[in-house]
């Protein structure tokens, strides 16, 4: 190879070649000017082990190369301080060199400036250390979060247990209270005058309200802990909704609210009759609560998205503010518009309705305009049963 090319390579890679004899004395050099900044005295005639005393600790390895046991020996991370005060790193590789014209053993030593490489390795090591520190921090935080999460879960379980016990304890005395109130109202203990009857009627209403609250609390605890089981069967949604309308008829009539039921022809839907009735009851009860006396409520059953039928409850009440809309299905949430005793409640109705409709495989959603009423939708999966209902579209006014 042209010596100028070799020189260029040596210059580019900041390296030097040394030719050594068996006593590690330097016979010839090339490119030493490119590693002079390493502070090494590598003149012909000098001894390599004097210039690099670190090699004296590696005599065994050098002898292995000398004896032909190892093909080469490399010593990394050697360093010197340059006259400018910078630390310079370099590497030396030694291997046997056989000359055709001289049988005496000779060796080639290649010295390479690895300062940049070493600095990069150092930087990589620093980055790795930083990454490791970050990893440790994340792990510590994850552990702390897991612990906090576990504590929260435990507290949630305690809360649910408390609700269950409290609701049971509140409900148990209600049965005899209700029994005696009904006996009083049926004049079993003698005739009541108008004032007494009014007082007992008020007691009855509040006992029923308390029973409804405890039922909601127990339902919530059952659903949250997975102690609820629905049995879905092909169900005639029309009959189910009609029964709920009749159930709430008296409540709506007492406030002169008009209830209209519009039924489209529908196939059977997959419902747990008791729980589906509870969902629709919640919606009707809510619609009545938030609709003023003399207002109108419409309930419709109609086809929904593909494979679904839906129940729609539309009121002409106060509507729901934008702020309240996003929290409406949260447990214990009560809209800010609830200011009168008439609209009292636990804030569980819609939350339970959402959980129950989710178990049905359906959805619940709503549209509302503050001041102009709300429309709630619940969807149920249409059954594959072949005995489709064949009712035509009908409209019935339940109360007026």
């Amino acid at each position: 190879m042209d010596p100028s090319i070799i020189d260029a390579i040596l210059h580019h890679h900041q390296m030097a070649y040394l030719l050594l004899n068996a006593q590690w004395s330097i016979l010839a050099t090339a490119g030493t000017q490119y590693i002079e900044h390493c502070g090494l005295n590598l003149t012909p005639g000098s001894i390599l082990l004097d210039a690099l005393p670190e090699l004296r600790d590696c005599i065994t390895q050098l002898e292995a190369v000398h004896n032909g046991v190892s093909p080469e020996f490399t010593l990394e991370h050697l360093s010197r301080t340059s006259p400018q005060g910078n630390i310079v790193y370099f590497r030396i590789q030694i291997q046997a060199y056989h000359r055709r014209d001289d049988p005496a053993p000779q060796f080639l030593a290649l010295i390479t400036d690895t300062t940049e490489q070493s600095q990069q390795s150092k930087r990589v090591a620093q980055y790795q250390e930083t990454v490791q520190q970050l990893h440790n921090t994340i792990e510590q935080r994850t552990t702390a979060l897991l612990l906090a999460n576990s504590q929260l879960r435990r507290m949630d379980e305690i809360k649910t247990d408390f609700i269950t016990i409290a609701a049971h304890e509140l409900r148990n005395p209600l049965t005899p209270i209700l029994g005696y109130v009904e006996l009083l109202l049926s004049d079993e203990y003698g005739p009541l005058n108008a004032e007494q009857r009014h007082a007992i009627q008020a007691t009855l209403q509040n006992v029923l309200r308390l029973r409804s609250i405890t039922a909601d609390l127990l339902d919530l605890a059952r659903i949250e802990t997975g102690r609820i089981e629905l049995v879905l069967r092909p169900t005639d949604l029309r009959t189910l909704v009609e029964l709920q309308c009749l159930k709430y008829k008296a409540q709506l009539a007492s406030r002169n609210q008009q209830l209209t039921f519009i039924a489209h022809a529908l196939p059977l839907t997959l419902c747990d009759e008791h729980r589906a009735a509870q969902i629709i009851g919640h919606l009707l009860s809510n619609a009545s609560k938030y609709t003023p006396d003399g207002g109108a409520i419409t309930i419709r059953i109609e086809p929904g998205d593909a494979g679904f039928a839906q129940v729609v409850v539309e009121d002409t009440g106060m509507g729901i503010t934008k702020d309240d809309q996003q929290h409406l299905f949260n447990a214990f949430f009560r809209a800010h518009t609830v200011t009168t005793p008439r609209t009292g409640g636990t804030g569980l109705g819609l939350h339970i309705a959402r959980l129950l409709i989710e178990l049905h495989g359906g959805q619940i959603w709503f549209h509302s305009t503050p001041g102009a009423g709300s429309t709630f939708y619940v969807s149920f999966i249409v059954s594959d049963e072949l005995n489709h209902q064949s009712h035509d579209l009908s409209m019935v006014t339940i109360t007026q």
């Binding site: 897991l146 879960r153 997975g226 609820i228 629905l230 049995v231 747990d272 495989g361 594959d384």
Partner: protein
């Protein structure tokens, strides 16, 4: 806020679908489990441990007297399912064949679903199918499976943990 996922159980009659659910949810086993009528839906909140932390998921478990071929005849049962658990009985090889036979149809009809197989009743001398038999029968479907026993609880928790992981991953 947890996420809710619907999982449908499928498999021949009396393979132990309801028993698996009762073992998982109520930690109990009824030797005289009655035949299931209607569709039973249960709810189970779970914490799923993933590499990045814990995810809260609610499994909505649908159980019916339905067989694997229901995908054509009972679409309402499977509508909206995020996962399907196919159950066979290791004392009745035909129940595994049925799963294997209908798996491709299910995977084609519901490509977005996650699938898992429970080889149930892996607890007694009457066991005929081995882990190798189940693996061999399912080799073309790339579906995870567990040898389970609703009676002893063997691998039941792991099975549902895996269901949760499949659904949130």
């Amino acid at each position: 806020m947890s996420i809710s996922k619907k999982i449908c159980l499928l498999g021949d009659s009396a393979v132990g679908k309801t028993s698996l659910l009762h073992r998982f949810i109520y930690q109990r086993f009824d030797d005289q489990q009655q035949h299931t009528f209607g569709i039973h839906v249960m709810r189970k909140p779970m914490s799923i441990s993933l590499a990045g932390g814990t995810v809260e998921v609610v499994l909505l478990l649908w159980d019916a007297a339905t067989e694997p071929q229901v995908c054509q005849s009972n679409a309402s049962y499977l509508r909206g399912a995020a996962g399907m658990m196919l159950v066979c009985d290791v004392t009745r090889p035909a129940t595994l064949l049925n799963i294997s036979k209908h798996m491709t149809t299910l995977q084609t009809a519901y490509p977005g679903c996650k699938y898992i197989v429970a080889a149930n009743k892996s607890d007694g001398e009457q066991q005929i199918l081995t882990r190798g038999d189940v693996q061999s029968a399912l080799r073309h479907h790339e579906v995870p499976f567990y040898m389970t026993s609703a009676k002893t609880g063997y691998e039941v928790e792991k099975l549902f943990q895996q269901v949760g992981r499949l659904l949130v991953s």
